[in-house]
Amino acid sequence: MLFRKMIRDIRENRGAYLACMVIITLGLMIFTAFSTMAGTLQTSQQSFYEGQNFADGFAQVQAIPKDEISKLEDVEGIKEIQGRLVKEVMVYAPESKENIYLRLVSVENDAQNPINEPLLKTGFPLEDNLLNIWVDNQFFEANNYSLNDEIEVIASGRKHKLSISGVASSPEFVYALRTGADLFPTPETFGIAFMPLTSMEKLFPDQKAYNDIVFTLRPGADFEKVKTELEIKLKPYGLESLISRDEQTSHLLLSEELKGLVSMSKIMPIVFLTIAAVIMYITLKRLIEQQRIQIGILKAEGYTTQEIMLHYMSYAVIIGLVGGILGVISGGILSYPLSSIFQVFFNLPGLEGRFSPSLAISGIILAVSFSLLAGFQGSRNVLALQPAEAMRPPAPVQGKRVLLERIGIIWKRLTVQQMMAVRNMSRNKGRSFFIFLGMMVCFAISSFTWSMNDMIQKMMYDQYEKVEVYDVKLSLARPMEEKSVVRELAAFPGVSRVEAMAEIPVTLKHKWHEKDVVILGLPENCSLYNILDDEYNKLAPPKNGLLISERLAKLLDAEPGTRLTVETAMRADDKDGTLQVLGIIPQYSGTNAYMEIGSLQDFLRQRGLITSAMLKINKIDIPSLREKYVHTDVISSIDERSQRLEKFKDMMGSYGSMIYIYAMISVVIGFAIIYSSSIITLSERSRELASMMVLGMTPQEVLSVVTFEQWCLALPAMLLGIPLARVLLIGMSSAMSTDMYTIPERITLTALLLAFLVTTLSVWLAQKVAARKIRTLSLVEVLKARE
C-alpha cells in the first residue's frame, strides 16, 4: 500500500524527482563511459606495450656505425639496445594540395626480440632488399589504400615506388604526431611506414649507419644513470636527443589522456551525484514536512518509525535505482561512439566500447548509496515526530529582519514584494546557499569552458595570424649557407621576401634545472616571424642574449639577467657556452628561445648557418615552388601556413562539440538546481502566494517575489563565479600545458557574457515553469487546506 503512495507522491512532485534522476543518469553515464574507456585504454596499452616490447628509452644521433650498437649493451641497466634508421620522406602526390609525409622506420627481419616491433594486422612479411613496406593502419585507411598498392615517395631527390605489403601498428606511434608543433594526428598527411633496413639503404645510399637508437631497461634500472652514461658514449656520434619513455610524445599523450579520463570518471560522477543527493534531500525533507499529519496518522495506526522511514527512503532509492540503471546503460552505449573517437587519436589495437557488468553493478551501487544517504538525511525528521505532535501543524514560520534593513537607503526603495523576497533568502539559508552554489557553478563552468575555447582559438590564431606570418616555410634537410639559400629562393617567381631561420636544438641549464628546447635564430628586422610581448608589441630578436618563453622561464627558474648554460651538438668547437636571458615573452604554441640569427651563428661558431627559410610568396606560385623543391634532397619539408590553419580549424570543430557538451552539462546542472529549488519553494509557499493572488495581485506580481529573490541570489553568484572560473582555468591550464602549447589563463569578456547568458537563461527557464505553476494555482484549494 505504501508503495502505491510512494509512486503517487513521486508523480505529484515529478519535476524535482525527474531533475534528480536526470542528474544521476548523467553522472552515471559519465562514470560508466569514462571508466570503460579508461579501462580499455589501459589494458590495450599494457598488452600492446608488452606484446611489442616497447622501448624504455629513445635516442637520436647523426650517425652511429652498426657494430657500435652492441657495445652499448655493456651500459649498466640496459637490457636490450637496437639501432634503426628513421627517415622522413615526402609522398609524391602532385594532385594533393597538402604535403604528405611518410616516416620510414627500419626493421630487421633477423633481429632477436625486436624492440617496438610493429604488429602486423593484415598482409605479408616484409622481404629484404625489396621496396616493400608495412604502413600504419590509420594512414592506410585515411588514404584508402589497399594491399599491394604502391606509394611513390621522394628520397634523396629521387622518386621510388614503395609497395604496401602489410598494415601494422607500433606502440611508438599510438599517437602519431609529425612535429612538436602538431596538436593532433593527421593520418591523411602523415603516416608511419616500416621497411626492411636493407631496402631502406637503397633509398638512402649515403646512409651507412643508424641514426636512431631504442633500448629497454632491466627491471629496477635507473634511467637517469643510464642516460648519463649513454650520453657520454653517444656524444661522438652527434647525439641529438635522449629521452625516456615518459617523455616520448605518443606515450606522454596517451598517459595524459588516461590520467584525464580516470580523474574525470571519478570526479564528475561525484559532483553529479552530490547535486542529485542534495536535491533529493531537499525534496524529501519538504515532503515530510508537508505530510506530517499523514505520518502522524501512520504512527497512530501503529506503523513503526523504521517502517515509515523506510517508506520515505524508498523514494530516494527508487530514483537512484532508476537513474543509476539508465545511466549505466547509456554509459555503456556511449562507450562505443566514444571509443571510435579515441580510435581517431590513438592507434591502439583492442580499443573498443564494451559493457562491463561489474562496472555497471558498482555504478548502480554508487548511485543507490548516494540516494540512500540523501534519503536517510532527508527522512530523519520522521524519527523525532511523536504521533500526537505530528498531527498538529508545525510551528509558524518565524519572520526575521535581515541585514539589508539596516541600510535604509536601499531598503526604503524596495517594494513590499521585494522586501518579502529579500527576507525569504534568509528564511531557508541552506537552500538559498544551494541555489546560490548552483548558479555559481553554472556560471563558472560555462565561462570557464568558453574561456578555454577562446584561449585555444586565440593561441592558434595568434600563432598563425600574428606570429608565423610567412606563406611557406622550407625546412632544409641539413644546415646550409644563408646567402646562397636566400639568393636562390628570392629569385623564384612570386617570392617577394625571403628570411632565413636557424632552428638550433639545445639543452638549456640553470642551477639544477635543464630543458631541451630549440633556439630560433631570426633576422633582426624579421617580418615573417614576429616575436610579440603581452601587448602584441613586436620585439626584435636580441643580439647578445635570449628571449625565452614564460613556460621556459618557469621550468628553468630563470628571469631577465639569468645566465643559462647552452649545450648543443651544433656548436663548431663542441664546447658549452652561456647566454643571458634578456627578456621573457608569452608563447602559447611551443616552448622556444629566440635570438638574432647573426649572433646565434657567432655563438655557434658557424657563420651563415641556417636550417630553414621563410617565404612571402604569391599563392598561385606555391604549387610550382613545391614542384621544384619536392624532389630535391636538400629540402625536408614544405609547410604552408594556410594548411596549418586549416588543420587547426578542423580540430577546433571536434573540440567545439566537446564545448557544447560541457555547456549543456552546466545548463542542465544549473537548471536542475534552480528548477527543483524553485518548485519546492513554490509548494512551500503556495499559501502565501495564493493569499497574494486573493488580494488581487496578478500572477506576474506574485511571481516577482520569487524572481526577485532568485535574481538577488543570481547576481552575486555570477560575480563570485568569475574567480571560481579563474581557479578552474588556472588548474586546467597547468594540467594541460605542455612543451607543445601553453594555455593562457585569461577569462575573456565574451566568455563572461556567454556564461551570463547561459546562467540567466537557466534561471529564466526555471521561472517560466514557476510562472505556469502560479497561474494554475487553485486559490480555493490552497486556502481551504490548513497547513
Binding site: 518565524q398 514584494q417 502565501e688 497574494m692 486573493v694 488580494l695 488581487g696 495581485m697 496578478t698 480555493v780
Partner: protein, 234 residues
C-alpha cells in the same frame, strides 16, 4: 441603497474524479451597498463556494453574476484579478498573513496595489495595533493577526469585505473585538460585508441572513433590529 451584486440561478458543480459534486444550486440573491450579510449553514452546505464565487476566486458553472451590472460569470482570469484587486477584500479564518512581513508591511502589501488606498498607519491605529506595527505575524496573537488581516483587506478600500469564518479560530472576547471592527467599518465607510459562519449567534448583528443547506439557498431572512456586536453572546 444600491445593488452591487446580483446573482441569478448561480450554480457551481465540481467534477471530482467520477463524482459530480453540486456545491451550489441555482442561488438567486442581491447584495446591497453598506449592508452586513451573514451566511449560515452547516459544513459542506456551500457557504465557502458562494463566497469564493462572489469574491472572484472561483467561477460559477451555471447562472449569472453581476457586479454593478458587469457580468462576472463571463470574466477571464485577468479581469477577475482586477476585480479582486479593486473591489473585494478577503478575511480568512487562518489570517493568511505573510510570515516574513511585519504587521505594517502586510498592510502595505495591499496599499501598494490599490488604486485608492487608505493609510496603512491609520488603519493599524484603528484596529488598535499601532504599537505592534513592527511585529512579525509569529510575534502576534491570533486576534491580533486577524485584526492585521482585516486592516490589510480594508487598506485597498474595497467596496465589499468577504469574511470566511473570521472568528472561527478565535476565543469569544477576541471574536467580539473583530466583529465590532467589521461592523464599524461597514458603517463608517459604507461597505458591504459578507460574513460566513456556522455560529448562529453572529447572525444577530446582520441586516440580512442567508441560510444555506446542501448547496441550496433555502431562505433569506431580514433582521429589522440588528444587535450591536458587543451585545452578541454565545
Amino acid at each position: 441603497m444600491e445593488t452591487i451584486i446580483m446573482a441569478e440561478d448561480l450554480s457551481k458543480t465540481y467534477i471530482m474524479g467520477e463524482v459530480e459534486v453540486r456545491a451550489l444550486k441555482e442561488a438567486n440573491f442581491e447584495l446591497m451597498e453598506g449592508e452586513l450579510v451573514v451566511v449560515l449553514g452547516p459544513s459542506g452546505s456551500g457557504k465557502s463556494t458562494l463566497l469564493n464565487i462572489i469574491g472572484g476566486m472561483d467561477k460559477p458553472t451555471g447562472g449569472r453574476l453581476y457586479y454593478k451590472g458587469r457580468p462576472l460569470h463571463e470574466a477571464d482570469q485577468r479581469q477577475l484579478t482586477l476585480y479582486r484587486r479593486n473591489e473585494v477584500g478577503f478575511v480568512f479564518q487562518f489570517y493568511n498573513l505573510m510570515p516574513n512581513l511585519t504587521a505594517l508591511e502586510n498592510i502595505n502589501l495591499s496599499v501598494q496595489i490599490a488604486q485608492n488606498p487608505l493609510s496603512a498607519e491609520k488603519l493599524l491605529e484603528q484596529v488598535g495595533l499601532a504599537d505592534r506595527a513592527d511585529h512579525f505575524p509569529s510575534q502576534l496573537s491570533g486576534g491580533e493577526q486577524q485584526r492585521v488581516a482585516l486592516a490589510r483587506a480594508l487598506a485597498k478600500n474595497p467596496k465589499m469585505l468577504l469574511c470566511d469564518e473570521p472568528t472561527g479560530a478565535l476565543d469569544y472576547s477576541t471574536s467580539i473585538q473583530v466583529l465590532s471592527l467589521l461592523k464599524s467599518f461597514c458603517d463608517m465607510y459604507s461597505k458591504t460585508v459578507v460574513i460566513i459562519t456556522h455560529n448562529t449567534a453572529i447572525a444577530q448583528m446582520a441586516h440580512r441572513i442567508f441560510y444555506l443547506k446542501d448547496g441550496r439557498l433555502e431562505r433569506i431572512e431580514k433582521n429589522e433590529n440588528p444587535l450591536p456586536p458587543e451585545k452578541v453572546t454565545w
